[in-house]
Symmetry: C2
Subunit: 97 residues, 2 copies
Amino acid sequence: MTFGEYIREIREEKQLLLREVASQMNIDTALLSKIERGTRMARKEQAEALAKVLKQNKNELLQFWMADKIVFMLKDEKNSTEILKIVEQKINRLSKK
Amino acid sequence: MTFGEYIREIREEKQLLLREVASQMNIDTALLSKIERGTRMARKEQAEALAKVLKQNKNELLQFWMADKIVFMLKDEKNSTEILKIVEQKINRLSKK
DNA sequence: CTTACATTAGACAAATATTGACAAGTCAAA
DNA sequence: TTTGACTTGTCAATATTTGTCTAATGTAAG
């Protein structure tokens, strides 16, 4: 499930309209529609605004948002698993210091 | 070790000058210097050109290059490990399909 | 010290990419 | 057919990235 699918699900659970949520975020309805459908990437501030409007844990949603960005980078790579291993090693080394 | 550190090591092993490698890549010496020092990110084509000039395995170097980009995105995140887990799950699900 | 050459730093314009809004479109329910 | 929710395409404005130039710094040899 992508970030967009996720927030759409929450929005629908809460029975909110695109128009309502977008308005609270101070963005165009069309833009929110695109974010939910994945044709546009939310900016960090927008992800934060979404957490607020949809009453979600901000850090958790931001993690999801960031994960989405990385998945997007990797989605066309045939060696994505291998790349992730390298990343993990590097991150582990970084965090030790 | 970052991508830049890595290629600098190889270049020095081969006793090549920045000027020589940059010239073969058709870029300015200053730019290659920055790439090696990590103040600029190489573009994909430049990473490929480096593989060629330094006679490295292209796919391997590109993996390293991509890993570096992701590490760069995650380096300021406190929950990078958590984020990576989410990414892995998503990637695994994607590759199943 | 000077010279010569390698590398680096900073600033800039040009090229690219991202962003948000608008207008027009589809779609479904009434 | 009207209404309201959502979607799509396009565009100008803005922001970011890119590569180069010049000047600075480092360094080894004479």
